[in-house]
Symmetry: D2
């Protein structure tokens, strides 16, 4: 038996490849499917099935790409009107070589969610692919459909009546790990068992009522691209055979092109201190999610990269989010832009000492762009809070009159926030490098929710 | 938390890398340690500990190589006089970032065997690194030291009193998977839990008496290199910084060199139909173990390869077995040897139909070179049995008077056996391509132990 | 200025990439154009032109593939009715950055052949891209169109009136190097100058009459695929964006598929001693030309490979010849075929000593399958000669009654010849490993043309 | 025959690999010799000779590294007391397979310089390896030994009496191309012939007197590391087997280490706007030469990199200059430094518009750090000139009282200059991004030498 976990960094998405006796199945494939095809090739296995645990909302699923390049069948829950694949439900079974897989309906996160239970020999479950029902240390979010009561109640029953009874020995294979936007409170690991969760997962210690109450109170952002993904994953995107290569462009071509498109600058925050007008600052790994918040799906996308080799990774990340419109990157990078004397703007950089100094003198507005959960868990006293994902539409709320210093946990999301402010025409903007992490490392004070509650 | 399983194919050896908060530990590293260093580098972690579960006997452990390139401490059981590292025992604890690891003495396979229990948060064991005590589907061999009763009895207690009590939810991380010479009856997977083994491992269903009896009866070969490995791993080999690159040689250099060394031909069996005099036929992946059976540790080693890129893999496999004397390979491969008109010998090839025909006419001796376990589990009626690993010293037992057709499961080990017979001066030798696997696929009859017993 | 020579091994085809100031041109691109695109990307250059020296006949030109992926213009001679690109002629000039290029009409090898003369600064020619007019040590073949007198006479004038006058200092950049089927008598190098050729090329020492006589007498084979290539290169093949990946297949799929297609076994000759029925034996590098001789352009092609990584190279070689129908390869290679007990045939192998022994006893027919030029230049006395490229259609000429031993220079082409004989149903066939090279190395006698003439 | 040119970017150093019939020679190998060993391996050739054209002064020659890993002989001129290899002189000949090589003494650049003339068949020179005697478009510098008259006079004779007579058809293979510090006036190409130089090289149009006068007037910088290199190359450095890998370090380790070593920040200039105190700013490709100007050979070196994959390239560049003391790099890069709240300094960035504005207001000192030749060829009217290579020792000459804006051609060397000023304690420092190139692109005025001379 072959078992492989494929983690998509940034999304914290976990997919799985299992194989036996010349046959294989892929659970929740990402859209760029070459990794699965490579595994199949190396082990001389035919991919016979794609198993979808649920209609994902945070990335485009690769089922149809795999279907186009193999002879696999796509299976998913029967309680949503998918435009492709086959719906299955409780007790349906398949074989993959010597392995047997049984479907369990485990609604909650979505109404059609399935758990796939894997058996090798005998009747003792070996693994359970739980999708977004049960994670390590937490459970799937229940705010995306129906009423919270309904969704959370269903999830409670799915976990306690279907998943936990599989037995402590069952290896747990969820669809997300730490860092995902599909839950909160993740353990910092991708390995564990149902028994381990039964014994340590705080959500599993709650009775149904408390569980529902807890789920209702979860402070989770809902990215605008979720709706787009849900539509893509219900109806199926056209098969593309992988991300289109993005073309190198010279300075005149690039300047012309970006005037009618979206420009993403993938360099790290200190480099963004000098940048092209109109650019979003999204560091390379951030490309896995942040474009979903700020980029229009119809706009052509252009990239400024620190290294041209990064074009492939950036294009791949965007492809996973359904952005098929990445047109080009500036060949030779920012240095060529500078040499050509093209328009260049500047962003101020701060470190905690400088920020503290400016704060003491009342000369700066601190704009904290972290999530609600982070904000509640420790903030700078004087700060204003707008989540970076909502900043563009809440731009009018940014306090005026003083320079604005954006801060996040490390300076990465704050660089995106700074670029949004610059695009909005705000003149004096700073990014606090190192963010709250550095602020704490330098022992500057933070205000915590509990203090506030007093 | 980072958790990685590193499998050394051929040896079916499993080592593990775990890390958290900038610190890492490696359990049972192989001798070529670059994989662990790469993981540490990619995750910005310091390797703080090497944890040896026991004095391995089937490969050279990489502890001292890692120690030379990092600042790690080497820990192992205290009940053998290791010439390096530090001995620990029951209840000793260490920290790796946020992870905690506790040592359990679990003797049996060796007298000083340890199990390392990993906890992340709280007191529920997350993983157990059991070395050669408990495998998937089987248990460690107990024929390598002391009396079988003593060793097997200790192992029984270690498993039932120390390992199983860790709980069903504990992920099992043994030192070997299917294909290892360190046990028999392996499940065909590298993932599972203590609960899974408790419920399905046949060895765990036996009472102590039956367990000891079963262990005593296990038909396991004992390769001659085990003694060498035990000595290497107790005393420590000099640090080399990795396998030495092996030099390309031209035809005159190579011809001269092999007259005073050991020649290994790494091409596949059909290609060995034409070969250099005196060569051992060991296919590339077979290089992970078979040289340990036939090659003298003092002899310089020379390689004939199908592709020159294979030199790195071959040298690496040999390095894992402690062979540091790989001197060179023939640049340009066998074609250059042929073009130069150098001495070339031939080996006959058969497929099942041809073998059956020759058998029907009584014109061939079939020499089955598989293991005892395989032999018992189905053989050709007329066959003689000598295990390939023992063939060189039992060469006098090979029946004379007829051509000899070597057979194994697929034709790979039989090619080694054929080369041994040729080296011994036996003239008419055949390799049965496809071996017993093909014989069965063509529906030729096999004799089974149970039939024989009647 | 950037200048790169790209050699396609096997074809001995030379193409060139030149660039300056952000612009580039490619001369005679091969069909798989990624190498040129990579160079353009790495140097931030736009490919502005593809320059064809002539309508090539030994590979598919990549002009239209480049055109589809860049904005380049395709230029070629105006004296053939190309269905794409633009025709140019004597004195036409273009610019590539700071470089200037001037076209010269140099007919002979083909009626529309051009030479491109490159200047950097000033009026002294730096390089001349002569296509198949002037090579190192020889000149282009003149037997492919018109009368030999006409073609050779034109070529003589092109060389002496147009190319040589460019000056001794001009670097010569021809379209082929040693090993090409587009000429005979190549120097063993890819670097030189017009002055060097003026002083040392034997063809340039001849007067026009002797030159024509020499060209008429050149013993050159004319592969059947030349006509196909000429048509492809005149009319343009559909743009494919590169070779299609070829799919791994399992044994049942492969067995089914090859029953309706062409099977090519890319393993080396000794391995072909055991093989699938009906296979052509063409070693990997031989895939660059030999399929053009034996494979039907309509037939699906299947590959048996020594290593699966070779699939990309094999598919690429076939793509260069216009074979777009490579459907799959056997995953796991020949070992899987053997294990499954599938039909397997055998080919005898010989070395010179064995061949000499059989010859002495009159027990074998030697079939020499080398080219006319090689055959004239030293042969085994008893041998019969049929060029491997013509063997399939001249199969009736193979002497009957005795086993046939195929021989070439090294055993590679003889393996193809052996496979052709086996496919034709001839039973006892041998391949002489090492071929005439080994025969000579062992000091066996050869008969030379001059001896014969006496 | 195999011929390969190996260009070391940054140094603009050219070395050559030639081979024939299983034997090879390397001309002027760089210190990291794996490229030559790979070529030898791929072509199954023994490296028989290393041919040094002269005692190089701008990089460490790899002769002894090659000698240690092959069985080659090292040959060089006999007129310097080398501590390794063998001295040869006029007319000495060697064979490399079918190739013949003849030595010519061509003193001038150094007293012992040789030219190696390559012949394949016959007596017509094919190539000339001229070292630093004759380049494309220029000639070797003559200011490094003896009197300029003596050196330039010898060089004149070497070129006109020895090299030019080899004939126009001879391919010229010099030791440097455009961008080298070993001459001025290089053509922008690495391909050409002696005939091409005879017809177009301005130095070859001069009579001896004018040639000597021209050479005496050449504005060439003499880096301090030249003396070091000359000593290394005369006496031989210990063999190391390649650059030592440089270790990843965490923040506390790195902070501690750099307090006793040299810190090089290899990020691009915009990123250096935020940096660690005490760092030199040297972009990655600049690592090929600039450390030779500013880094002490005894000091341990630490690297801050944009990408950790750059560690290998940086270490390799430093190794070529003889820096064997590269100890480590910061794992996780500058972001980790920032997160840990470590000391961070800032550098101002300007573009031409901003600089022009400040100049108009008299608020800035412009410090032009380009070479003398560049400075003479167009400068900003108000600028002060100190070459970046000499800035550290001429720091007292930097005008005081106003902020200093460093400018070079593009902002790269100016970033190094800015870092030198910051290290020297100068507070208000700016780097002009895009440099004079951008300044010109924006049509700001420049002052030229000729204007000045009026």
């Amino acid at each position: 038996m072959i078992f492989r976990r494929i983690k998509s960094e940034g999304l914290a998405h976990l997919s799985y490849f299992i194989g036996s006796g010349g046959e294989a199945a892929v659970i929740d494939p990402r859209r760029d499917v070459d990794a699965y095809l490579d595994m199949a090739r190396q082990s001389c296995m035919d991919i016979k099935y794609v198993l979808e645990t649920h209609r994902n909302e945070d990335y485009v699923i690769g089922s149809r790409e795999l279907e186009a390049r193999t002879n696999c069948r796509i299976l998913h829950g029967r309680r949503l009107p998918f435009k492709f694949g086959e719906g299955i439900g409780d007790g349906d079974r398949i074989r993959v070589g010597d392995l047997r897989i049984r479907a369990l309906e485990t609604p909650g996160h979505t109404p059609e969610s399935l758990t796939y239970v894997l058996y090798d020999t005998g009747d003792v479950p070996l693994m359970a692919f739980t999708g977004d029902a049960l994670f390590f240390g937490t459970t799937g979010r229940t705010d995306l459909w129906g009423t919270p009561e309904e969704a959370a109640g269903l999830l409670y029953d799915s976990i306690h009546k279907k998943i936990v009874p599989l037995g402590d020995q069952t290896i747990l294979c969820p669809a997300h790990g730490a860092g995902s936007v599909c839950g909160t409170g993740f353990s910092d690991r991708d390995d564990g068992t149902i028994g381990g969760e039964r014994l340590t997962n705080p959500d599993l210690r709650l009775d149904k009522e408390k569980f529902i109450a807890k789920k209702k109170a979860e402070p989770l952002e809902r990215p605008p691209y979720f709706k787009q993904m849900e539509s893509f994953n219900l109806n199926g995107l056209p098969v593309t055979g992988g991300p289109h290569p993005c073309r190198p462009m010279n300075v005149p071509q690039f300047r012309e092109a970006i005037s009618n498109g979206t420009l993403i600058d993938a360099r790290m925050p200190p480099a963004f201190s000098a940048h092209m007008p109109g650019a979003y600052s999204i560091w390379l790994d951030g490309m896995a999610t942040w474009p979903g918040w700020v980029v229009n799906y119809q706009s052509p996308i252009y990239l400024l990269l620190e290294n041209e080799e990064d074009a492939a990774a950036a294009t791949r990340y965007l492809y996973r989010l359904g952005f098929d419109n990445v047109k080009g990157y500036l060949c030779g990078g920012f240095q060529r832009w500078l040499n050509a004397g093209q328009d260049t703007e500047f962003l101020g950089l701060l470190v905690p000492d400088a920020l503290a100094g400016m704060l003491a003198e009342g000369k700066v507005t601190v704009l904290d762009v972290r999530s609600d959960a982070e904000w509640r868990n420790g903030r700078i006293k004087e700060a204003t809070h707008i989540y970076v994902g909502e900043l563009e539409k809440r731009i009018a709320e940014v306090p005026k009159g003083k320079p604005v210093a954006c801060i996040c946990s490390t300076g990465l999301r704050a660089s995106l926030a700074s670029s949004i402010l610059k695009k909005a025409g705000i003149k004096e903007v700073y990014n606090v490098l190192g963010g709250i992490t550095a602020w704490k490392a330098k022992d500057y004070p933070l205000l915590y929710e509990k203090m506030l509650e007093k």
